[in-house]
């Protein structure tokens, strides 16, 4: 399956980064470029559990048929916020069936970030991906 262009671009960007330091820097930069979420959206509903740092994921669904999902997110930790940005880049602006067709594990492993997806990691990444997929599955 061909990946959506923005994901392929992200994979291409990461391919240049051979050592973990550069990859972490890039992840952190991606996090810095995330648009801020409203203070009111930093609420319990949007909070992602299972994370040492605080993570919020805000879901929007438009009126189109089929509806398109957009996600916004934030974290108080830099690396986690970068991972939030990666997850949003993967899943945002897509329909439920597009979301279901994406394999987050495969994409993250192409980005060299799959170690972060283990459920034992307390970064909330797995919880975030699970939440997005269950939203898509509920449609």
């Amino acid at each position: 399956m061909t990946l959506p262009q923005n994901i392929q671009d992200m994979i291409d960007d990461f391919e240049f980064l051979t050592d973990w330091e550069d990859r972490y820097m890039h992840v952190i930069d991606l996090g810095k470029s995330l648009p801020e979420i409203k203070a009111s959206e930093r609420n319990e509903t949007n909070k992602v559990k299972g994370c040492v740092s605080q993570v919020w994921l805000v879901t929007h669904m438009n009126e189109a048929t089929p509806p398109v999902f957009t996600f916004q997110g934030d974290s108080d930790a830099h690396i986690v916020k970068g991972l939030v940005a990666v997850v949003i880049a993967i899943f945002s602006n897509r329909t439920a069936s597009e979301i279901k067709a994406l394999n987050a594990e495969e994409i993250l492993s192409q980005l060299g970030l799959n170690e972060h997806l283990s459920p034992q990691r307390s970064n909330g990444l797995r919880a975030m991906v699970d939440r997005i997929q269950s939203i898509a599955n509920a449609v």
Partner: protein, 405 residues
């Protein structure tokens, strides 16, 4: 024995591990300590040579195993300065010990009875008391912590009244490192006619503890932070208190007689040890105490504090560094934050350089709230840590800054 950190390190096989291409610098000892060969050998030796269930056995290995198990209890008693082995109840750890005390005293709690804790308690010394609040109407009061991480002892003293039923205080904080003046507190608590419980999870590792000198009713410790196995800890209680305490778990071993209409209990400590106990873990704890006791405690303390101060001196050069916990009396726990960086990021990046630290709330949410922070990073030093590892921590934290600010 002369204290030589290289010789000590050589006894911990795991310390030669590499993490992410770097030699492991294990600075998470307040969470759990690594195990020396002597402890591993004690466990395997027992399993290879003599193992059976303990107590009531009539065959040779049952007797031998019982002797080793009860021998471990005697070692714990001596280690804590308890008068007799009977003062020591084996538990799963300090959390279970504190839960046992709370549960065992629940029957004495009436609505409005007060339980005094401090803001620096670990959740394991808060939540069991919340049970008594929820179920029996106890009122929890928290003695405040000063800005430098010291306990406000005068405020604690002021909280004591005729309503006070129990006072439970940590001996050494797992975040601030603060060592509390439990001996003074014991006198005040006794004068108020209340029960005094001390959580010695960290202190039992880093200080010379004498439960009789302190004057406690109950004292808790855990094995895995003392270079021993997981799943084993101990509750010290005076015999008077252990007789007063209701049992928590029912089952075999803990009874004297069982009838259809009544049951009579075994004497302490067995009254609290239903079922087959963690036999090997207890023997392993005994071995850890033997191993640890070959060193002079003052030497260990001096070494750990030298590593702590070496790291602290280096970290203080960093502008954004903030130490949490500057009490004059403190152990080798270094909790800190970097302005503009999250503790989680710091721990994750340090791990990439082979340095293991903890980040988070350290099971002390009221303390984090008190200091207005969501989390901290924490390096905690043990017997095998070196000045070189302290240097690596400082360098690692500096590298974190290049990523994060």
């Amino acid at each position: 024995m002369i204290f030589n950190v290289d010789d000590i390190r050589a006894q911990f096989p795991i310390l030669s591990r590499e993490i992410n291409g770097y030699p492991l610098a294990y600075l998470d000892n307040a969470a759990s300590a690594q195990k020396p060969q002597a402890v591993m050998d004690a466990l395997t030796h027992q399993m290879r040579t003599s193992f059976a269930n303990v107590h009531r056995g009539l065959h040779t290995m049952a007797n031998e195993t019982t002797e080793a198990f009860e021998g471990a209890r005697a070692k714990v008693a001596k280690f804590l300065g308890a008068p007799k082995s009977e003062n020591i109840v084996f538990t799963k750890g300090a959390s279970e010990a504190l839960n046992l005390v709370a549960y065992g005293l629940a029957g004495e709690i009436k609505k409005g009875d007060e339980i005094i804790l401090t803001q620096m308690e670990h959740h394991s010394n808060i939540v069991p008391w919340h049970f008594l609040r929820e179920r029996y109407g106890a009122v929890l009061r928290f003695a405040p912590v000063l800005d430098n991480g010291e306990l406000d002892v005068m405020a604690l003293k002021g909280l004591l009244s005729s309503k006070t039923k129990i006072v439970s205080v940590v001996h050494m904080s797992n975040v601030l490192g603060t060592i509390n003046p439990v001996q003074d507190i014991a006198k005040w608590v006794k004068a108020a006619g209340a029960i005094f419980v001390v959580d010695g999870t960290q202190a039992a590792v880093h200080m010379d503890v004498d439960v009789v000198d302190i004057g406690v009713d109950f004292y808790c410790m855990t094995g895995h932070k003392l270079y021993g196995p997981t799943g084993i800890g101990a509750l010290y209680g005076t015999l008077e208190m252990l007789n007063r305490l209701q049992p928590f778990n029912g089952g075999g071993e803990m009874i004297s007689d069982v009838f259809e209409d009544r049951v009579t209990y075994n004497d302490p400590p067995h009254k609290f040890e239903a079922g087959t106990p963690p036999i090997l873990e207890a023997i392993g704890l005994g071995a850890a105490i033997d191993w640890y006791s070959q060193f002079n405690r003052a030497d260990i303390h001096q070494h750990e504090m030298a590593v702590y101060h070496h790291a602290l001196d280096g970290l203080r050069d960093i502008n954004s560094f903030r130490l949490i916990g500057e009490a004059p009396e403190k152990g080798s726990v270094l909790a800190f934050n970097l302005q503009g960086a999250h503790a989680h990021d710091v721990a994750q990046i340090l791990d990439k350089y082979g340095i293991a630290v903890r980040a988070g709330q350290h099971c002390t949410q009221p303390l984090m709230t008190r200091f207005g922070m969501h989390s901290t990073a924490r390096a905690s030093f043990g017997i095998y840590n070196t000045l070189d590892e302290a240097d690596r921590l400082v360098e690692g934290v500096k590298k974190c800054l290049t990523f994060l600010t």
